[in-house]
Assembly symmetry: C2
Homo-oligomer: 197 residues x 2
Amino acid sequence: MAGAEIEALIRQLAKLPGLGPRSARRIALALIKRRESMLDPLVRALTGAADTVKICSACGNYDSQDPCAICSDPRRDAKMICVVEDVADIWALERTAAYRGRYHVTGGLLSPLDGIGPSDLKIEKVVKRVSDDGVTEVILALAATVEGQTTAHYIAERLKPTGVAVSGLAHGVPVGGELDYLDDGTISAALKARRPV
Amino acid sequence: MAGAEIEALIRQLAKLPGLGPRSARRIALALIKRRESMLDPLVRALTGAADTVKICSACGNYDSQDPCAICSDPRRDAKMICVVEDVADIWALERTAAYRGRYHVTGGLLSPLDGIGPSDLKIEKVVKRVSDDGVTEVILALAATVEGQTTAHYIAERLKPTGVAVSGLAHGVPVGGELDYLDDGTISAALKARRPV
């Protein structure tokens, strides 16, 4: 159809999450058309990220520096760790600006069916951080799925000997959510955790 | 939030057609995570396309060679030109394998409201190709919109002195389409152009 290089570009773009062959073709064409304003800056951004981004050796976050900007920020509470599955979750929590402690990325969730056990995740490291750094509170901000809650329970059990306070995110009605559109499990959880107004 | 290089990458990705900040973040994270299998090959594909892809001086198609593979294929009918708005339309028509002539890309459609006149498009060039190359048939495969049909009429008028046969794509029920979901204009067009079974 198109030249070999265009086909190779479309194939690579179609591998990106959320993109299929149709959107990959559309993006490839836009990139080729706007070489100076789109393709060249994208190549620079990609190589820039590939050259500088590293994994924070303390928490597992991605940043241009190690330890990452969050771990090396003295204004952030080093006695508080929020455990998340993925770097995307750090970004989501940071956008809220509601949390001023540090993070720990597990790199996944326990899933016996997929053969993912505790040794595949960075769980021992959070236990070590809690004992070594005198952490006083751990927030388990993991998905409200079976895997997420299993992982949360496992981490809470492992943290018990340290005596640290462990909490999980509240379940309930999403802000802006209408009851009519919510699933039964969420409504039950919100009812159980009802609070005085 | 994330490092400057990650932010720059997300910004560039969000500029691509069909991507917003959320999908750009997701793609950036996937690229950083899978550097060897995704980021590096994508950079190679992008630079490969940037280095080799050119515009065919005959028809306006994108290819690694000039004239493009279609224009230089001796098995394709040089006496037939299909006029399209964009290279994406060439790709769409080529996927059908139903057309064996050559193409001509106008690079846009006439749109007085947006200040796009005949001189902004490659229309004179198709008239020149028809007279110079002894073309016997021109198919106007332009969008079934006001701009597309205006452009088609304009090109047909300009081609009249050459005596070439000019046709447009048929309007009708899309293959696999149900009448219930079609707009009135399409049903009227399909009725008017009804054919003996």
